[in-house]
């Protein structure tokens, strides 16, 4: 049996020696999750903005709906999309099951509520005068929206990081929708799940280290930016 220390030192060796398969998994993970977050962000932030600044009936219901969706388990999203995308399902003709696109769809669905809920609270904390000042100074609505978003960019960035953190580390949906196919849809979390089930703990730990390093780097970067961008 491998001990923790043993497995960790093997993991570090795998990382440093540039194990091709391992880095391929890391690359797939990033490619899929970054694409998902890039596609999800604009509509999610616009939704958040409308929820924060709009005045229409049902707004509160929508806000609590998105907050509820925050706690939806990833496997439920995975299952829903599985049933939609399976050949027997309504979108079966697209033949997207077990592709990276399917994973991206699942991850978009996962990140959307986080982006909306956290984006909403960030935008709500923005000074309403920013919006009004932008409008009175002749900005068109689109520019006024981006101005307000710029004013609370750190809150929005935090939302982005949280959403990215969730989807990049999420097993259930990726496993179901991607199928954990080697060199194609095997990303960090599904690979960890697989390696663990095979008893290859070193691989699992190595991938875990990559995830940790990533989130540490992103957070460090975030706090650095925040510190530099907002003098007291």
């Amino acid at each position: 049996m491998e001990t923790l220390g043993n497995a960790t030192s093997n993991a570090l060796f795998l990382l440093i020696s540039g194990d091709a398969e391992l880095w391929q998994i890391v690359a797939i993970s990033f490619q899929v999750s970054i694409t998902a977050i890039l596609i999800a962000t604009p509509p999610a932030l616009l939704t958040a903005f409308v929820l924060a600044y709009g005045r229409f009936p049902g707004r509160r219901v929508l806000i609590s709906l998105f907050s509820t969706l925050l706690s939806i388990p990833a496997v439920v999203i995975g299952l829903t999309f599985y049933l939609l995308l399976s050949r027997q399902g309504p979108l079966g003709d697209w033949r997207l099951l077990f592709t990276q696109t399917a994973m991206i769809l699942g991850q978009i669905a996962l990140s959307f509520p986080i982006l909306v809920a956290m984006g909403h609270s960030a935008l709500q904390s923005a000074d309403r005068r920013a919006w009004e000042t932008a409008l009175t100074l002749g900005a068109n609505p689109l520019r006024a929206v981006s101005t307000v978003m710029w004013e609370v960019r750190f809150g929005l960035l935090a939302a982005l990081l949280a959403a990215f953190g969730r989807i990049v580390a999420e097993v259930g949906a990726s496993m179901m929708l991607g199928g954990n196919i080697l060199n194609y849809t095997r990303n960090i979390p599904t690979a960890i799940a697989l390696e663990t089930s095979k008893g290859e703990f070193a691989q699992g730990i190595a991938l875990g280290i990559v995830l940790l390093t990533l989130s540490f780097t992103l957070n460090a970067l975030f706090y650095h930016l925040r510190g530099g961008g907002q003098p007291a």
């Binding site: 000074d127 005068r129 920013a130 009004e132 000042t133 932008a134 409008l135 009175t136 100074l137 002749g138 900005a139 101005t147 710029w150 004013e151 961008g229 907002q230 003098p231 007291a232």
Partner: protein
């Protein structure tokens, strides 16, 4: 400035806050180069009135006459926003330098040189050149007020609505603010100033209005015995 003298009529403006009547049948005119001071107790609806006139809020009822006959409110939001500028009591500063805050007010940015030139003119006009590169969120209240006025100057509105522009300012900052307001008025802009301290604006006021419980009335008292601002601090 070369605008034809502005004449704006707002007729029969109504607005309710929940059950409480906010504004009841307010009629008000804004005339280019004329200064109007609006007084009234707290909660009388001064701010709401200004925001409605500036196209930031919707009245329950009312019409606007911009010289072409009465128009429904819905049709003229963008016209109102382009010709009337509302300044918050505490002007909002965008995250960025003072000059970038001024740049925001320039709508045509295609010519960079011209843009820079306009910014430096505005900085000079408002006496902000020394703090042009300071972060706008860190400057003092008086400076903020002047940045807001410089933005207004760049934007060239036809009427300027101010909400307590000198509240919480020290006397010197107040003087400088009033000076800028005076110059804006001279250039033909209509000023509507809501304030608790009408005597501060004596030199700007051509007309005094009082808003009490949603009803607007003209007021003639108290203006004669107040000295113009230039002489308050020799």
């Amino acid at each position: 400035m070369t605008h034809t003298p502005l004449k704006l009529h707002f007729n029969d403006v109504h607005k309710r806050f929940g059950r409480r009547p906010g504004l009841i049948g307010v009629n008000i005119q804004l005339i280019g180069g004329e200064g109007t001071v609006l007084t009234g107790p707290n909660g009388a609806g001064k701010t709401t009135l200004l925001r409605i006139l500036a196209g930031l809020e919707k009245p329950d009822r009312g019409s606007v006459d911009m010289g072409l006959g009465a128009t429904r409110w819905r049709r003229c939001y963008s016209d109102l926003r382009t010709s009337i500028l509302y300044l918050h009591q505490h002007p909002y500063m965008f995250d960025g330098s003072v000059s970038s805050n001024l740049a925001y007010a320039i709508s045509d940015k295609h010519n960079r040189c011209l843009c820079q030139q306009r910014i430096s003119e505005a900085l000079k006009w408002a006496g902000l050149t020394a703090i042009a590169d300071n972060h706008a969120k860190t400057i003092s209240g008086g400076e903020r007020q002047r940045v807001a006025l410089a933005r207004a100057w760049l934007r060239e509105p036809r009427a300027l609505l101010l909400d307590e522009p000198t509240a919480n300012l020290d006397p010197e900052a107040r003087t400088r603010t009033l000076e800028l307001l005076f110059r804006l008025k001279e250039s033909g802009i209509a000023l509507l100033i809501a304030s608790h301290d009408p005597h501060h604006f004596a030199s700007l006021a051509d007309k005094h209005l009082q808003l009490t419980q949603g009803v607007l009335a003209e007021e003639f008292s108290e203006t004669s015995n107040v000295t113009p601002f230039r002489r308050t601090h020799p």
